[in-house]
Symmetry: C2
Subunit: 599 residues, 2 copies
């Protein structure tokens, strides 16, 4: 008989029971529906926060603090549930007092193992899409009517001057652009401030050979997916041109060639004062909310090495290395061994330079093809699309895995990668390369979440290291720089015409210290990382990325960013938080994270 109790019935029964306990405010019974090991991740819909609660006690706490305001209702399965290895998985929809939501539920032995709840839209503030789209033409006759072009020109002339925006986003890369598009749809007047001359320049200005390391299915922006002939790994300039076209099509108020100088919260007016220099002119913007979207990797880390000032060759950070062509026949030292270091070493070698990579510490190498197939293919691939998992669905499935146990899903992937690529890894090690697979063997994506660094997605450079075309000095650093050479910590001296510091990027909240104040930066605290107690990600455990896309300890200050996937997906939740505040909807934040580490 058990066999006839279908996955959909199990899921429907659980959902009905959960709804019933919530309806009668029976928190004991509701908590009883969760397993001893259980996780509830909420994206804004219950908590006005991005929050994972872990285990029955925390789930109880969440319910006790939120249930009365949230007033959940209208729980309904969305499509058929599935069962795999004893885990029932089901999509569902629900409503709160103020919003509509979508979720993903996993049951083990009839009790909830993982629950994802996400906000889709605010009631009464739905996007004007599909059936709700505007007419465009105003039928009938309207003396004095203004055309779309006139209204748009008027907006561009007045917003930021005689009319103040509700939101200012500092940083017009993929993060600012994706968020800007969402806010535009929600009718929140927004200005995006970007120092470069054109949208997309933050990609165009990088090194010439750069292509996206993530595949197309993972990289769509909101609302307008790439055409179906878009390359798997798009070249940087093509991405730049797409971003530029996108800002125009989405009608963003995108202030390019504009440098943010200073941001100050003004208590009297309850608005920020954001001083920018727009094409040479100082303008003060007064938004209600301020978003910093300057990039997970925007602030160049250049180590201070004794003697650097005496160097007679050229030296620059990897972010300034645009072309490798000028270095034919030159002796080049690249300090670092992550993505940029590898890509730049390969480009220099391709252009006939003599290249040495200086590897300071162990690095995780993931061959691109294996990574795509083993780690991403299930959610983001042509096959996934054929299986009915487009990026909208992929994003939610991805989001439904609690960070606490995410590494347990990744460890077997990288074990398989090590088996499959054993020969490759052996040759790299023989060349002296110091490998790792993350502190617990959980590989690339966990490293990305925990520290945002420490890996290279191999698209060819590792072969140059393995076969000696790119020379390698590993386990060392540059100790001193001389006019025409560098000395390493093992005493080796390398001749050098060029030094590239592929030494990564500083913490995002350096931007806060610069733009607002060191005190504000400390109040916000460390940005990014999970508190996994692994290298560069000190504990205690946080359960979510620190300070990303959710309220910080500085009111009205938000941080947005991440890769294209995160910029797309989390902009949804940040935009809804901002819209709710603009619309005067109460947004009591549950479980605001404490600050354990200063910037």
């Amino acid at each position: 008989m058990q066999a006839q109790y279908t996955a959909s019935q199990q899921a429907a029964d659980w959902l009905a029971a959960f709804a019933a306990t919530l309806d009668r405010r029976d928190i004991d019974a509701a908590v009883g529906l969760f397993g001893d090991e259980s996780y509830w991740r909420d994206l804004v819909s219950w908590t006005w926060n991005i929050k994972t609660v872990e285990g029955p006690a925390q789930i109880r706490d969440l319910l006790e603090h939120t249930l009365a305001q949230v007033k959940p209702s209208a729980w309904a399965l969305d499509g058929e549930a599935t069962e795999t290895d004893g885990v029932v998985e089901a999509w569902f929809t629900f409503e709160t007092a103020v919003a509509r939501g979508k979720g993903l539920l996993r049951l083990k032995g009839g009790r909830c193992w993982t629950l994802l709840t996400t906000m889709v839209e605010l009631k009464g503030f739905e996007e004007k899409k599909g059936e709700r789209r505007i007419a465009g033409a105003e039928h009938g006759v309207h003396p004095g009517r203004k055309t779309w072009a006139e209204l748009r020109a008027e907006e561009q002339a007045t917003l930021g001057y005689s009319v103040q925006p509700d939101v200012v986003v500092i940083g017009g890369g993929q993060g600012g652009i994706a968020l800007g598009a969402r806010l535009r749809r929600l009718g929140v007047p927004t200005i995006i401030v970007e120092k470069n001359a054109r949208a997309g320049d933050s990609w165009r200005n990088r090194y010439k050979s750069l292509c996206l390391h993530d595949p197309v299915w993972y990289d769509h922006l909101p609302y307008m997916p790439f055409p179906d002939d878009w390359p798997v790994f798009a070249p940087k300039d093509k991405v730049g041109d797409w971003l530029e076209a996108y800002t125009k099509i989405m009608e963003l108020n995108y202030w390019s060639s504009t440098l943010a100088k200073n941001c100050r919260w003004d208590e009297a007016s309850q608005r920020w004062e954001v001083t920018v220099e727009r094409e040479g002119q100082t303008v003060v913007l007064r938004p209600k909310e301020l978003v910093i979207a300057l990039g997970v990797s925007g602030y160049a880390n250049v180590p201070k090495i004794p003697g650097a000032e005496t160097f007679l060759g050229e030296q620059h950070h990897s972010s300034k290395h645009t072309s490798s062509e000028p270095y034919r026949g030159k002796k080049c030292v690249v300090l670092g061994s992550n993505n940029s270091a590898h890509d730049i070493c390969a480009a220099l070698w391709e252009n006939g330079a003599d290249v040495t990579m200086v590897q300071r510490s162990s690095t995780h190498i993931a061959p691109s093809a294996a990574l795509m197939e083993l780690a991403l293919g299930g959610l983001y691939s042509e096959q996934a699309v054929k299986n009915g998992i487009d990026h909208h669905k992929g994003d939610l499935i991805f989001a439904s895995v609690p960070y606490k146990i995410m590494h347990t899903f990744h460890i077997p992937v990288y074990e398989e990668m090590q088996r499959r690529e054993a020969d490759f890894y052996a040759r790299l090690e023989k060349a002296g390369f110091i490998l790792d697979f993350g502190a617990d063997g959980s590989g690339l994506f966990m490293k990305y979440l925990r520290r945002g660094s420490g890996y290279y997605i191999d698209v060819g450079a590792s072969e140059l290291v393995a076969n000696g075309s790119v020379k390698l000095k590993s386990g060392v650093n540059i100790e001193r720089i001389h006019p025409r050479s560098v000395t390493l910590t093992d005493g080796t001296e390398l001749e050098a015409d060029l030094i590239v510091y592929a030494t990564g990027f500083g913490s995002m909240n350096h931007w806060l210290a610069d733009l607002i104040s060191p005190e504000a930066a400390d109040r916000v605290g460390k940005v990014w990382g999970l508190g996994s107690d692994t290298p560069k990600d000190p504990g205690p455990w946080e359960g979510e990325l620190r300070n990303m896309w959710k309220p910080t300890q500085v009111p009205h200050l938000w941080i947005h960013g991440g890769n294209l996937h995160q910029s797309r997906h989390y902009s949804q939740f940040l935009s809804l938080q901002l819209k709710a505040r603009m619309a005067g909807i109460p947004t009591p934040v549950y479980g605001q994270a404490e600050v354990h580490h200063l910037r």
Copy 2:
């Protein structure tokens, strides 16, 4: 038992029988599967032409001339068939010797009533999309590799100069752009020549209040649909900006600010010599194929009226009327009563002008909302999308209705419109407006196909005519123009500060006479129209639009154009015809149309 013979079984049986007769080259039996009233419309897949054959005798002729080369195979139903009012409708796929196709079949009483066959892709020349998409990043190391940006810059610098394009498209409006995007995907080197400074200017330069009269679901370009918040009726400048962004995203070789001066076929080289002036410099392009895409309505018709040269006010064709603002308090005479005339009258009235419309002959008025609901809603609307009919499917369903009987589907629509809008039409007639619904009551779209003129999609101006805000003189023409007035054919004199000639556009093959030669234009003959023997569309019956998207009597010369729907859909078939010729695939044309009318 009959009731259990499902629609899908009937369709499958018919398709199997058809396939079997074709396999054994039994044309008698194949023809026997068609009803006495039957139509087979082929878009390139069987005929290398756009061709409808009508009735068993013509169907026999088509089979006799094509079957041996086409070698059809792999017939298969695509999804479930449906049955409505005794008509079974089924999608299917098939292959020919060189291509894959898709079709739509309708059976009546077990025999074929309508058959649509269309070419989807050429085997071996499939678009690089989905699973076939390019990698983008070239993994591995490649000394001397060029980046996407370098290759694109190189192409732009050389194509048309040291490297000749295979195809030149003259005219960079929606038609040229849509075709250019298709050819780009098929790897056919193409240059699009456009006289305006920016893609989209052909929309931007029109009168200020212009919005699309067709709704968004009908207007998508190939490959990149509008975002889901796109207005139902997009304002012209927004359309212009979209077209501009689209040319960049699709990486078209779009030569703006370039005027085509002359085209000459060179027998010796078997190429065209297309002389253009690009930003002041004369360039001779030498393509193998030449496409004229200058618009169904590109060549302004300005009637020669005695005394016009004595007029002291302003006079211009509707295509030159960009803003109505300067005419506040002025006396304006608008000659004409179609779309542009109505829109311009309303804009002038909204801007405080004194406006008189001069209606020369009867006009078909279709209120926009009724038109959308009654005529287009089934195939192109939010509801259609919900019913599973996106524009891809809508286009094929639309294409499957033979022109011979299309009016029979439209007559009831316009009868219903007359019933529903009886009061509106009565008030218009009371104001003196001379209405028609097409020669046979088949309304707007048939007028569009037959003559490309004679109607107004009412978005508000008719109310101004009905209530007298816009004055009307109907059944008359302007007989003579005086320095400050015009005299009408009924003797009335109207004071005038402005005369707008909303008198439409000349035949497309005027372009051919200008660019190639009057002889070539006459050899191609009349363009557009079906030979319906209704006003401005003389017989004999042609069965397809004259000369559009298919081989003309001048080898290597093609005409492309139409509204956004046609530009999207028929660019598929024109691009496949061009690609096949470039790839050296035999393209024997069946049923090339004779020329019955000179230009």
